[in-house]
């Protein structure tokens, strides 16, 4: 306690009120104003939302259809499931749902010549510019005029680790951590004004600094409306995704959820003991094991080969999904 008071007294620095009036508050006001202006400009730049393409919507929905069949196919009777499985596998194989069914055979064209791709790219660039330019300008301005300024003193003690966060631009080893430098004040504002913007502009505003960071990491690629983009920003080959989905489908075995529904119902109303259900599960597992064992004895080699192929196929499909 004593050491703390000593430290306090030693660092009883007096800040000129002019610093508050001409540095601290102006920085904050400028940052708020820039945020508001940026929001308005972004709204202007966005203009009309892009029209979604009917065919690409169909493409995505078809993929979803395969996934839904795999996940919820248990609710269908055997015949209904098999019919859908066969139909979808065939359709995926032939590319019925592809945006351009004949594109698969063609060699892939340069992505830069695809107008839709270039447009998305330009859009992302524009948004990125809107984020980067004002931030760079403000940071330059602060660095140029106010570098080395100490602006405020936090009213609570902090550990030494906060030094790099709060005293950027001041290279003194033994100054107390509670003093905040101008550059750090800028960063605190950049991340802390979020809720102020929400107050002024309503939720969903475009002045959000955190979103900028995300946008920078993904290079602002909105995949919602434009062509399907992979993580690298390249359009994905839908044909391949469809083939992967087809493999997934073919590996899916149908297990009907209503197989023993009468027994379940009787158990539910207490007409049969709960152990019946357990017995049922056991007998089913036994039957499955027996059938696979008999298969294995006859054509063990073939099965392992196909299982290996299937396994790798599933892995591939997973990755693409």
């Amino acid at each position: 306690m004593g050491a703390w008071t000593v430290l306090q007294e030693r660092q009883a620095m007096l800040l000129d009120p002019a610093i508050r009036d001409w540095v601290l508050i102006p920085i904050m006001i400028v940052m708020v104003l820039v945020g508001v202006v940026r929001h308005q400009v972004t709204v202007l730049l966005n203009g009309t939302p892009k029209k979604a393409d009917l065919k690409s919507a169909r493409e995505t929905k078809a993929l979803q259809r395969g996934a839904i069949l795999r996940a919820y196919g248990t609710h269908l009777p055997e015949h209904a499931f098999q019919a859908r499985k066969v139909y979808l596998s065939e359709a995926f194989e032939k590319g019925t749902y592809l945006k351009d069914p004949n594109a698969g055979s063609k060699p892939k064209q340069n992505v830069m010549q695809d107008p839709a791709y270039v447009e998305t790219m330009m859009d992302g660039m524009k948004k990125n510019m809107m984020n980067i330019i004002p931030q760079t300008v403000i940071m330059g301005w602060i660095n140029f005029f106010f570098s080395g300024f100490v602006l405020i003193k936090l009213p609570f003690p902090l550990t030494i680790r906060f030094k790099s966060m709060l005293q950027r631009g001041i290279e003194t080893n033994d100054m107390d951590v509670t003093w905040v430098s101008s550059l750090s004040w800028y960063f605190l504002n950049l991340f802390g004004l979020q809720s102020v913007f929400t107050l002024i502009l309503g939720s969903g505003h475009a002045a959000d600094a955190m979103r900028d960071m995300q946008a920078m990491s993904t290079m602002g690629m909105g995949a919602a409306a434009g062509p399907q983009m992979g993580p690298t920003g390249q359009p994905q080959d839908m044909q391949k995704i469809f083939l992967g989905e087809k493999e997934n489908l073919e590996l899916t075995e149908h297990e009907w959820g209503l197989d023993n529904v009468e027994t379940r119902l009787l158990v539910k109303y207490g007409k049969k003991p709960r152990s019946v259900l357990v017995d049922y599960k056991k007998s089913k597992a036994l039957a499955a094991a027996a059938s696979s064992a008999s298969h294995a004895s006859s054509q063990a080699a073939a099965i392992t080969a196909s299982a290996a192929a299937g396994g790798s196929g599933r892995k591939k499909g997973k990755r693409q999904a």
Partner: protein
Amino acid sequence: MVSAAKVLQDLRASAERKPDVVVRLGKPLVESGAVRKLDADAWLVYEQVAIAALDTGDDALAQKCIQALEDKFPGSARVRRLHGMQLEADGKLTEAGEIYKAILNEDETNVLAAKRQVMLLRAMGLPSEAIGALVKYLDINYTDFEGWLQLADLYLDELMYAQAAFCMEEVLMLQPQNHIFHLKYAEILYTQENIPLALKQFCRVVELCKDHVRGLYGIKLCTSRLLNAAPSKSPAATSQEDLTAIDLLATERLIAVYGSGAAAAATKAVSTKWIENL
């Protein structure tokens, strides 16, 4: 006033239509101009009230709402669709069709207009055209289970049970937890004379919703037919012993539901009230 806006918002969120409630709550809002205080939500309220007013036949209110939207968003596809619905309410089906067609020509992905067009064809008494349009719509918007339900209804009107069953299967995959859809599927199967499968589906209904009377009656119908028929050889079919047990269970539950003193009195009270109000 605030609470009315909140109720309307909840109704919008849960996609419930309830036109009587919406008109009762929304009419004072729109007429006193208080709706303007809701900022961005005001336009959603206008749209909601307009549709509800068309449903309840309050043409003046609908006109007022649509006019307000028209002034705010001239030429918007969503407002033009409301105009189309207004024409439909007036019985001017052809003009309404023109509007929907124009919207779809501009933007082929407009889901609202595509749906209206299907229902318009149905209202005009052109079921096969309606089915064609709806099939085209579902080919793209596969996950719209209400669309599949509508298609099932259209097929049922045409007595095309196999197709209707297919649609209900899609609905079951998209909404597996709703027993009403299972019930509908079971009834279609029963009509198709696929009794063993129908029995299983009826069992599923009762499993999902305890003492579901219609499901119990379904079970009863199926078991009585299966017990009278020759025992099936198929391994998937329900065993004779289970059939008897299920049959007994259904009878017991039906008697319990209808036969107990309180339930019987309640049923009697409801039916008396209904008859008196007739």
